[in-house]
């Protein structure tokens, strides 16, 4: 037995001297990688892009009256926000965290492997992130972002963030133009679920982001350059085939479209009264939009109804024939009954982040401001037709497709569509853009509405919540930004927020930089 003691002592002694370091070298996680490669990181980053937009897009959709809450007096319908909640801060989370440093991981890996295509894509995604996040939130942490060992972060102006999008976008374009090193369609295609490795389309995507970046400045007399906008648009998407579509496998709650019935996120949202009225012939008298039945659903009695903002659906009771149906195209909540959903509110549909028709509307607006009516009108028609084409893809029933086509012909001749270049108004462009951005483009429509200060000259018959129904903290003003994420900035970076009024009760009504002249 003494032997055992001796052996133990010796073993410990040996361990302690020769192989101690090796014995203790077990601090690498065997279950989860701590380094990775571009093709393994890119797919979930793409998924996060659509998740970020739709999370916050739900609330932007209420501000823009695409849809409203089925219940009375919802805070978002009232142009308010939920205090102490992360709702409305998903783009923030996505830009800094869920996409966040994963971009650097790709850049690091791509640098070592000379995968300039991956590098360009990573930068393109980050540029898109800066653009969409600042459009919603305004000031952002730019210069100090992701700095190691830093716990308090200064905010930078939106102007700086806009410049960063240009800088990063240009870098991305340079990378994407390279053909040397390990650049290859097969290699990029492995992780690129959107364009399957086609760098030329990514170049168009970057130009699309730059087009937004340049175009959002319409209120900045000194900065706005319609020619630059038109140039970016021309270098971007040429047809619906170039649309930036995020695919959804739709097999489970994890990979289903956020707006599909499987994820059940839209149970309390109902089509908005204003949206219905833009399509059912109320605003454009007598012109029934073929997209009305394709995108929205009628109540059981056959009438298309929407919820008027802040009022909820008074008929929201089972079996009431006037009840506003869900966005899934059914009358009842669908949690226990299987349903396929409708339009882009399905589990397996692609979610477009930027589309050809959006860019054509941008071009139309830019050309209109520039004074080139002909160019504006051509782009305007391109946009309308592109969206009609796309909407038709969701209609599978043959009879309904025929009906859609018939209605389409009539619709294009109706009062809803400007007859010619001379008759074209800014409102025509923005109203059609409003209809065509429903669902996928809520965030961008909210940019538009803010640029025009929710003007009823532009958005005909648009009714904003009035004094009684507006959120109490607003002091009568409408929403002009979403607050940075509560559990990120409001809890852990308050002092920095305080430097530009971020802690004010009505901060969400303070216009972001691009809105101001």
């Amino acid at each position: 037995m003494k032997k055992i003691s001796i052996i133990t002592t010796l073993t410990l002694f040996i361990l302690g001297t020769t192989s101690c370091e090796k014995y203790l070298d077990v601090n690498f996680d065997p279950s989860f990688p701590q380094v990775s490669q571009g093709f393994a990181i890119l797919p979930p980053m793409l998924a996060q892009m659509s998740r970020a937009e739709v999370f916050d897009g739900r609330f932007a959709g209420q501000y823009c009256q695409y849809w409203q809450s089925s219940g009375l007096g919802n805070v978002w319908d009232r142009h308010g926000y939920v205090a102490g909640s992360d709702a409305g801060g998903e783009m923030w989370r996505s830009h800094y965290y869920s996409i966040g440093k994963n971009v650097d991981l790709i850049i690091e890996d791509a640098t070592a492997k000379q995968q300039w295509d991956y590098m360009g894509v990573a930068k393109a995604i980050r540029a898109w992130g800066w653009q969409t996040t600042t459009d919603a939130n305004g000031e952002m942490i730019l210069k100090q972002a992701w700095e190691p060992n830093r716990y308090i972060f200064d905010f930078d102006s939106q102007e700086d963030v806009y410049k960063e999008v240009v800088r990063l976008g240009n870098e991305s374009l340079q990378d994407l133009a390279r053909t040397d090193g390990a650049v290859s369609v097969t290699s990029l295609g492995r992780g690129d679920l959107v364009y399957r490795g086609d760098r030329s389309k990514w170049i168009k995507f970057v130009n699309a982001v730059l087009a937004r970046n340049a175009h959002h400045l319409t209120n900045k007399k000194g900065l706005y350059n319609p020619d630059a906008v038109i140039k970016f648009v021309d270098q971007s998407f040429a047809s619906n085939a170039d649309n930036f579509n995020i695919p959804h496998a739709g097999l489970s709650t994890a990979d289903g479209n956020f707006w599909g019935p499987l994820r059940n996120n839209m149970a309390n949202f109902r089509q908005g009264d204003y949206l219905v009225k833009t399509m059912d012939g109320t605003i454009f008298t007598g012109s029934r939009d073929p997209r009305l039945a394709a995108m929205l659903t009628a109540s059981t009695d056959g009438t298309f109804r929407g919820v008027f903002t802040t009022q909820g659906d008074a008929n929201n009771v089972a079996n009431n024939v006037r009840r506003v149906p869900s966005l899934w195209g059914v009358q009842q909540p669908v949690a226990t009954a299987p349903t396929v959903g409708k339009f882009i509110f399905q589990d397996r549909v692609d979610h477009p982040l930027i589309t050809f028709w959006e860019l054509q509307f941008i071009k139309a607006e830019a050309a209109f401001i520039k004074g080139d009516r002909a160019m504006a009108f051509a782009a305007y028609l391109n946009a309308i037709n592109a969206h009609l084409d796309w909407t038709l893809t969701f209609v599978t029933d043959a009879a309904l497709r025929t009906q859609f086509t018939t209605e389409r012909t009539a619709y294009l001749r109706s009062s809803a569509v400007a007859a010619n270049a001379a008759a074209l108004t800014l409102s025509d462009i923005m109203m059609q853009k409003y209809i065509s951005m429903f669902g996928h483009g809520n965030m961008e429509t909210w940019v538009d509405m803010r640029r025009y200060n929710y003007s009823t000259d532009v958005y005909r018959n648009f009714l904003v919540p009035t004094s009684l129904n507006i959120f109490p903290d607003n002091n009568g003003k409408l929403a002009y930004r979403m607050r940075p994420r509560f559990n990120s900035e409001y809890v852990w970076n308050r002092a920095s927020l305080a430097t530009f009024g971020g802690l004010d009760a009505d901060f969400h009504t303070s216009p972001v930089w691009f809105v101001k002249p």
């Binding site: 003691s5 102490g84 923030w92 059940n264």
Partner: protein, 1048 residues
């Protein structure tokens, strides 16, 4: 080696010789009595020294044994001083034995299977007898410790069968890491882990399920003593995990002499008698209008409707719990070797339908004196546990029962075709019917655990001993959760199965060499040792959704494409060398110096080793010649001082961020929530303790007072930060927190005669804690598990909040009329939402609707730390009867009554019955003049019945119940031991007793909820824990037990 053989040979020869001697034996008989009262002592072991021969005294204290002249008889009996008597020529040897309450020579088990004279310990330790814990009749022995130990705070996490308990000694030293003490059984550290729900595919917070903590596997029937080392001084012997103190358990070993078979068994019934109370007047609806499809109870008064029926859905839901426990042990042995085999079967049916725990525990312990110099102790323990624990919290049975319409019978939960009967027309937002919840969902776990332990002690010479302990603690648990597709949590995924299998392996080897040397009046000993600790936890989890057959609980019953796996392997290795030096001068002055160096695998290589020393001094002043003559008054007195440092490592794999798989389209990896830190340093602690022990009037009165001051710096925390870091949590390293406390143990025997004895044991604990600074210099560190209802959470809050919230109205100190900050600078704070106030501290009211304005900022609104806690135990014995009662007393400390807030906001609380009375919220209007000299007082009257949002405007601040006190009867026990006279009439039984007892018999408290002694998260929650958060969980039920024990 050669020497070893020689010795073995010598041993064999001597054994042979001793066999020869048997022939010359003659019978010796005698009677053994208790010296105190001259009553016979049955069961005393009588062994002939150096032989395997022995016997035990019978019920009359008589024995008979064969021995030769010159041999020595050893008389031993637990609780009595062991006697050795050399046999002369007599054939009769009567003896009286002294009871062993002469604590002067008391020995306590302190380290690595070794023991030490208590008087030589210069820091606070407290010993609890196993019988005391056993007598408290708890499934989980940890529950039996509350009220018995100064400085110990036990919190049960729920009152369901198989629930867990959390113990903290001297407060929590780490705001983000584990604070539970180390559990050591016979020198071997054993796991007290609780399954962390983060290992599930669904990565849940530790709040909706209560998994048992593994220390609860220790069978109370096997515990001989529990020694509690409260301070970090224990860390010198046990390493970093004992920085939070250590609970050292010594198990029962076989007694020498005649073999003994013992049985003890008990049956219990349990019931819940304290519930949150709900109103039964207003039905579902909003603004006074009845609407069965509204979740809240702000509808019309329906109590006046003819034929209105009211069901006590909460009371009816709970059932009578029943528990039975049977233990059988067989033991015996000689001086050379002993054995003890004990088995226990425990079956506990909880007060919540379907809740149960079944446990089988088998333990075999053997000791052997292999050679005169070599001794071994081995043990083997198997524990099998099967628990079914219903969900709690937001989707649990309690919230479901509270919110179920009182005008419907909840027990009628299925429709004719077997589907869930809904209270809403549609499936959205309906809370689960509690019956449906427990009968149709399933949440259970099954553990198989084996603990093996070998200890070898070798003493080659008189002054040197070498000892080694090798141990393995291996267990596997299978967790299974089935969520019915019609249950609320199951609606969106159409039902799911969330399973995990955890395999854990803890290996520990330690070695120590101890040398002893005396010179003159000095006695010294030096110990050097080393340990290897290797832990490996492997979890395989699987999840699937979209259940095919609604009532079939199997992963195979889920849609294959939804099935996802997760494998988690966590490994930690720790190497240590340690040394300890003791010096004793004339039994008057004791000095102890220790040092330990650890190497941990969890820290970056450059920082992975750390040294921590301790020094302590004890001065037994009653040994001074001047005081020696006064021992009849001051029998024993000691002053002690101790200083100790300790380090702590990090959680494995955290120095670099990890990537986690994504279930989104195309799969792949993204960074996890947690940022890394390549420069991580070990946590550091310093503790100072001063204490005294006094015993008066021949030990009739004893007093032990300790004051300690503990500082823990370089805290390692996963701190929520701005996402500008790129992560949700940063891994920070810094800050300092401080715990100090006063612990008093007092015992007195006011009355003692031959037949009647009265003992009082009291203890008192007062703890202070202070956040000096937080890592990263943030305002708040919060425990995300505890943010489980509304906006209140367990937080450590930095001092001087005004510097973090400059835009707020001035933050006053506690009690001032500005913002009533409470818990500022405390580790035990509750952070939550309050009201917006003006500079004068008046609550601001919205001028447009007359409702108070919420301050959506997490500010300190409560402090959970009690002013003090006390345990008071009275024991009376009269002849064969004993009666003992343990009172648990607490003064102060705040509770977040989440149940009440839930009920208040949904119109269920009795406090919102006065809704038809117009109400004007006291405050000033926020009309721009709120900070002027003349703010506008609010005069806007609201009739809550027609303004249901009124109740929603009350924030968390209004649901912190302050200064909660309690007195509760933890244990009450009456026992009768059969008299020797009775037992002597038969030959079968050697001893026997019966008892009745009760737990949690009454509770007197100013708390308005059911019971303030709850924690809403599982023991898997790290940091300070969720003590003081009352939401959706059940406190310990009242229990009545009857039992008997006998041996033959």
């Amino acid at each position: 080696m050669k020497h070893f053989l020689q010795q073995s040979f010598a041993l064999l020869v001597s054994l042979g010789l001793s066999l020869q001697l048997v022939a010359q034996d003659r019978a010796i008989s005698g009677n053994i009595t208790n010296a105190a009262d001259n009553t016979p002592l049955p069961g005393v072991s009588v062994v002939v020294k150096g032989t395997a021969r022995g016997t035990t005294t019978d019920v009359d204290g008589n024995y008979k044994v064969n021995a030769a002249a010159g041999q020595t008889l050893i008389f031993s009996y637990i609780g009595y001083v062991r006697r050795e008597v050399k046999v002369g020529n007599q054939s009769m040897l009567n003896l009286d034995m002294e009871s062993d309450n002469n604590t002067l020579n008391e020995v306590v088990i302190t380290g690595l299977g070794g023991s030490q004279e208590k008087r030589g310990l210069n820091y606070a330790v407290q010993e609890v007898k196993g019988s005391e814990i056993l007598n408290s009749q708890r499934d989980n022995f940890m529950l039996g410790l509350q009220g018995r130990v100064a400085g110990l705070q036990m919190t049960p996490t729920s009152g369901t069968a198989g629930g867990s308990a959390v113990i903290q000694l001297r407060g929590a030293g780490s705001i983000g890491n584990n604070n539970q003490p180390l559990y050591v059984v016979d020198g071997l550290p054993v796991s007290n882990g609780t399954f962390g729900q983060g290992a599930l595919v669904t990565d849940r917070a530790n709040r909706d399920m209560d998994y048992q903590n593994r220390a609860a596997d220790i069978n109370p029937n096997d515990i001989e003593t529990i020694t509690i080392l409260k301070g970090p001084e224990a860390a010198a012997l046990y390493g970093i995990e004992a920085a939070n103190g250590a609970i050292i358990i010594t198990t029962k070993k076989g007694t020498t002499g005649r073999g003994k078979i013992s049985y003890n068994g008990s049956v219990s019934v349990r019931d819940v008698y304290r519930f949150p109370e709900t109103q039964t007047q207003y039905g579902r609806g909003f603004n006074g209008v009845f609407n069965p499809n509204n979740f809240s109870y702000f509808g019309a008064d329906i109590s006046t409707v003819p034929g209105a029926q009211v069901y006590d859905n909460v009371g009816n839901f709970f059932q009578q719990g029943a528990r039975q426990s049977h233990s059988l042990s067989v033991e015996g042995g000689s001086e050379k070797a002993t054995y003890r085999l004990s088995t226990t079967y425990l079956s506990d049916k909880g007060v919540v339908p379907t809740n149960k725990m079944d446990q089988i525990n088998v333990r075999l312990t053997g000791t052997a004196q292999i050679t005169p110099k070599l001794k071994t102790v081995t043990s083997f323990n198997y524990i099998g546990t099967n628990t079914v624990a219903p969900l709690r919290g937001a989707q649990g049975f309690l919230t479901g029962a509270l919110a179920f319409p009182f005008y419907l019978d909840a027990s009628d939960y299925l429709t004719a075709n077997g589907t869930r009967r809904r209270t809403f027309g549609e499936d959205a937002n309906d809370l689960d019917n509690p019956y449906f919840n427990v009968y149709k969902n399933f949440n259970g776990n099954r553990t198989n655990r084996t603990i093996g332990n070998v200890q070898l002690d070798y003493a080659p010479t008189k002054w040197l001993t070498l000892a080694t302990i090798l141990g393995a603690d291996i267990f596997s648990t299978r967790y299974n959760r089935f969520q019915h597709p019609e249950s609320n949590a199951g609606i969106t995924p159409k039902g799911f199965v969330d399973n995990a299998t955890e395999n854990s392996q803890l290996l520990n080897a330690n070695f120590r060499a101890t040398a002893q040397k005396s010179f003159g009046k000095f006695k010294s000993s030096l110990m050097v040792g080393s340990t290897v600790d290797d832990r490996r936890y492997e979890t395989t989890a699987i999840y699937g959704e979209q259940i095919y057959l609604p009532d079939f609980n199997s992963i195979n019953n889920t849609l294959p494409v939804t099935q996802r796996n997760k494998g988690t392997l966590v490994q930690r290795r720790l190497l240590s060398v340690l040394g300890s030096f003791n010096l004793n001068y004339a039994d008057l002055l004791y000095l102890n110096v220790t040092g330990r160096n650890d190497w941990s695998s969890t820290l970056p290589v450059q920082n992975n080793n750390f040294f921590y020393p301790s020094v302590s001094v004890g001065f037994i002043f009653t040994e001074l010649p001047a005081l020696e003559k006064r021992r009849d008054i001051l029998s024993y007195g000691k002053l002690r001082f101790a200083y100790a440092e300790v380090g702590n490592d990090a959680m494995p794999y955290r120095t670099r961020p990890r990537l986690v798989p994504q279930g989104t389209t195309g799969g792949g990896f993204l960074y996890d929530f947690f940022g890394g830190n390549e420069n991580l340093r070990p946590e550091r602690g310093q503790s100072f303790e001063i204490g005294t022990e006094l015993r008066l009037f021949k030990n009739r009165i004893g007093l032990d007072i300790a004051y300690f001051d503990k500082r823990n710096s370089d805290q390692i925390t996963s701190q929520r930060l701005s996402y500008g870091t790129g992560f949700i949590f940063g891994l920070l390293n810094g800050g300092e927190i401080r715990n100090s406390g006063l612990e008093v143990q007092f015992n007195v025997s006011p009355f003692k005669t031959k037949d009647f004895k009265w003992d009082i044991n009291a203890n008192f604990t007062k703890l202070w804690n202070q956040v000096v600074s937080l890592p990263g210099d943030v305002a708040e560190y919060y425990n995300s598990d505890t943010w489980l209802f509304g906006n209140a959470r367990a937080s450590a809050i930095a001092p001087n909040q005004a510097s973090f919230f400059p835009n707020l109205v001035p933050v006053g100190t506690e009690g001032s009329k500005a913002i009533p900050v409470r818990g500022e600078g405390k580790t035990t704070a509750i952070a939550g939402w309050g009201y917006l106030r003006n500079n004068n501290g008046d609550i601001l009211v919205n001028p447009s609707n007359g409702l108070p304005l919420n301050n959506a900022t997490f500010l300190p609104i409560g402090d959970r730390n009690p002013d003090f806690t006390m345990g008071l135990q009275n024991s009376f014995s009269y002849k064969n009867w004993t009666l003992s009662a343990l009172l648990d007393i607490r003064k102060g400390g705040d509770i977040f009554n989440g149940n009440e807030m839930f009920m208040f906001r949904s119109g269920l609380s009795k406090r919102v019955l006065d809704r038809s009375t117009p109400y004007t919220f006291r405050g000033v209007l926020r009309d721009g003049r709120e900070n002027s000299d003349n703010p506008t007082a609010n005069t806007i009257q609201v009739t809550p019945q027609f303004r249901s949002d009124f109740y929603g405007a009350f924030t968390e601040e209004s649901f912190i119940e302050r200064d909660i006190n309690w007195i509760r009867m933890r244990d009450l026990r009456l026992a009768y031991s059969f008299s020797t006279a009775l037992l002597s009439k038969q030959k079968v039984f050697r001893s026997g007793s019966v008892f009745v007892s009760g737990n949690e018999l009454f509770l007197i408290t100013n708390y308005t909820g059911a019971d303030p002694d709850v924690s809403a998260t599982s023991a898997g929650t790290l940091g300070i824990g969720a003590r003081g958060f009352d939401y959706g969980t059940l406190a310990l039920p009242r229990t009545f037990t009857a039992g008997l024990s006998f041996s033959f």
